[in-house]
């Protein structure tokens, strides 16, 4: 498929997904009712559902899903490993420890910003730890050490979570597990604005690094010979991708597989040129997460499933099919 064609398809799909997401949920609205609510002429309860709940939820889904897919594509290029994903540096583990801690201590309800802030602090702790280890060996950042340190740090955080949950009350355990599975239910305009304020600049900066990432994806030494400032590009891109992931986890929990499956699918369709891969992954991730979130809301309505469950349910089979297809091709 040509790149402009796929960009167009994804843009239309994203717009359609947002429209669907505003119409469907525990309560189904007609397109007329949605338009009336947006114009401010419908009943107040419909305006609340559309403007206060569903629209911010869809936009937050787009930002988080796009950010995760973009971060995933970046990690895959930097680590030269198609199996890399945004949580590979222990970011999800760190964020989960932060969130689970405040839930277990009963502080999560104190104010709406406590939980995301604790999750962000945990994620940043993980990133700082892993970066420090990977740069300690010499002056240059070794991505293999980064990968290994990420795996070990993640294992440590998993143990921390297991410890906290084993001594916590049953109610705490349930809300902690639900948080870890990821959800967009907490979306409000405030969180959308915060998410947009970091996601969009970070995304634009990363896309500006697309061409040097192309070079690094075929080897750091080769990239140097082709004129790329490898060390600077590597550090900047890693930091941006890590921050995108951390911020996404902070507002929506650990949403699995978006960052792994989406870049894979896009790469199969348009190849590995990051000038196309990065923006298209962002669009693809945004659309994918919104669609999964709609499914999570309606499939067992009125019970809402964590969206991370759906992204895994859809993402795993999709990934396996793509993997098989890429082997056959």
């Amino acid at each position: 498929m040509s790149r402009p064609a796929l960009a167009l398809v994804l843009l239309v799909a994203l717009a359609a997904a947002i429209v669907l997401g505003v119409r469907f949920g525990p309560v189904e609205l007609t397109t007329g009712e949605v338009l009336a609510a947006l114009a401010g002429s419908g009943p107040e309860w419909q305006r609340q559902i559309v403007v206060d709940l569903r629209l911010p939820r869809m936009l937050l889904g787009a930002l988080v899903g796009g950010g995760l897919a973009l971060a995933g594509a970046t990690f895959q290029a930097l680590l030269r490993n198609p199996l890399a994903e945004p949580y590979i540096l222990g970011i999800s583990g760190g964020a989960s420890v932060g969130a689970v801690s405040v839930i277990a201590l009963g502080l999560a309800g104190a104010a709406s910003w406590v939980l995301p802030l604790a999750a962000l602090a945990g994620a940043l702790l993980a990133i700082g730890l892993v970066f420090r280890v990977a740069t300690a060996a010499g002056r240059s950042l070794d991505v293999r050490v980064l990968l290994l340190a990420g795996v070990v740090v993640a294992a440590f955080f998993t143990a921390c979570i297991a410890f906290i949950l084993s001594v916590a009350e049953a109610r705490t355990v349930q809300s902690a597990v639900l948080w870890i599975m990821g959800s967009l239910a907490g979306a409000r305009w405030q969180s959308v604005l915060v998410a947009a304020a970091y996601t969009l600049p970070a995304a634009i900066l990363l896309m500006g690094l697309a061409r040097p990432l192309n070079l690094i994806a075929i080897g750091e030494e080769t990239a140097q010979y082709l004129g790329a400032d490898v060390e600077r590009v590597k550090r900047t891109a890693l930091a941006l991708a890590a921050l995108l992931t951390a911020a996404g986890v902070a507002v929506a929990g650990v949403i699995a597989f978006v960052g792994l499956v989406v870049p894979h699918a896009i790469r199969l369709l348009v190849g590995s040129d990051h000038r196309a891969l990065l923006p298209l992954s962002f669009l693809g991730g945004a659309t994918f997460l919104i669609l999964c979130d709609i499914v999570a809301q309606v499939v067992l309505a009125p019970t809402q499933l964590p969206v991370g469950v759906i992204t895994a349910f859809v993402g795993v089979p999709l990934f396996l099919v793509l993997l098989r297809r890429s082997l056959v091709a």
Partner: protein, 262 residues
Amino acid sequence: MRFTAERLLVRYPRGPGAALDGVSMDVPDGALYAVLGPNGSGKSTLLKALLGVLRVSEGRALVDGRDVASWSRRELARAVGVVSQAETIAFPLTVREMVAMGRYPWLGPLRTEREEDRAAIKRALEQCEVADLATRDVMTLSGGELQRVRLARALAQEPRALVLDEPTASLDIRHEMTILELLREWADGGMTVLVVTHGLDLAARFADHMLLLSRGRVAAEGPPARVMESGILEAVYRWPIAVAADPATGTPRVTPLRGRPA
């Protein structure tokens, strides 16, 4: 372009001794210069030091008289094209995309391809005879094809010098000769060509100068006739060797003899 090494000393952390131990050399402008030596004698290390991707403990590496560390990567990439020993390609990539990467030093991260860039890419594809592979995925290429594509990428940089690390390793006669003939042709056209190789006989036929390394030190240097001596080669490769003029070409030819290590 001119490459100069002044008493280079390189130590690898945890390595046994110095990988390069006081190596001095001078690659004159427009020469085809071959670096030879046994496995582990420091050939690749010497190239990396000359290209500024390896920190030297002592001594200096100069490119056109300037310390290589004072060149920015982009500035150096406009002047010197490199074909390194191997690269692992983890993602699908077409031949055209691969060769187009050679334009990075001229375009930088943001500018899009201009007419002159497309012309340079086309020229490089044609000169290396890979134009008909342009839309192929590089992961599906044979060893000989991939090597010519990597050479085309270096050529697309429009460099004044080429540095190659065993460019013909594991290639058959036709592919090896194609690449060497191209290198000779470019050197005759004024390009400086610095090549690491194991092929003594072919180096003696194609190169203007040879440098023979042994355990990180220069064992011999000069025109092929001076370096291709059985005494020198036997000492460096630690194996009985006969050198005779090849009946077909008249250039020195090496024959390793049967027997025990000298």
